[in-house]
């Protein structure tokens, strides 16, 4: 079974530029998550989708971050404009979405460096 796919793996941009990340979850997984992991920290949830609806985006900096999951499968996360403090690894995860706690499976992440 294919895992969670993410691209690109690495991205370097200058501050105030925009960037987009893509995620393809495990087939059949209804729930998709985007996490931000800053160096030396654990992953922190940015946004959670159930199919194509947003469940939780309370920690998403909405003035600069946006995300969508059209058709309830692939998802994109965008940052516009980027700040230095956005340098981090952006992880996508998916789970079956059973309505209760279930195991989340992570992609390899996209490492973003903002100069």
């Amino acid at each position: 079974e294919a895992g969670v796919a993410q691209s690109p793996r690495y991205k370097i941009i200058e501050k105030r530029q925009s960037v987009a990340f893509w995620c393809n979850p495990i087939s059949g997984h209804a729930t998709l998550y985007w996490y931000q992991q800053i160096l030396g920290q654990g992953p922190k949830l940015l946004i959670q989708f159930q199919n194509n609806g947003v469940v939780d985006d309370s920690q998403l900096p909405k003035d600069r971050f946006s995300a969508e999951r059209l058709k309830g499968v692939d998802s994109t996360l965008k940052i516009q404009p980027a700040k230095l403090e956005d340098s981090a690894v952006y992880l996508c995860a998916s789970s079956l979405g059973t309505g209760g706690p279930d195991t989340q499976y992570f992609g390899p992440g996209t490492r973003l460096t903002v100069l």
Binding site: Q6, Y33, G42, P43, V55, P101, T103, Y105, F106, G109
Partner: protein, 115 residues
């Protein structure tokens, strides 16, 4: 505020010995706990989980113990192998109508297993 704490940033263990990684949590609503292993440049890989209705779960060399009254869990790896060298993240989740079972992570413990 950090609701999941891993107070040991690093741990070194000899091959063949037991590795014990500890995790504390503060939110009494958490009822499902997971351990993830992370190698450099890869996403976190699910290792083992435990529900709050249990106090122990075993999978091969890995055992997770949960002490609900102390809000403490630990991961035991016996016997430890050099391939176990990685960063281990403790994560917790619970029924929260606002967050839909998103994971709350600790900062991780870097385990080094020496030959």
């Amino acid at each position: 505020d950090q609701q999941v704490k891993q107070n040991s940033p690093s741990l070194s263990v000899q091959e063949g010995r037991i590795s014990i990684l500890n995790c504390d949590y503060t939110n009494s609503m958490f009822d499902y706990f997971l351990w993830y292993k992370k190698y450099p440049a890869e996403g976190p890989t699910f290792l083992i989980s435990i529900s709050s209705i249990k106090d122990k779960n075993e999978d091969g060399r890995f055992t997770v113990f949960l002490n609900k009254s102390a809000k403490h869990l630990s991961l035991h790896i016996v016997p430890s192998q050099p391939g176990d060298s990685a960063v281990y993240f403790c994560a917790a989740t619970g029924d929260n109508s606002n967050s839909g079972y998103a994971l709350n992570f600790g900062k991780g413990t870097s385990l080094l297993v020496t030959p």
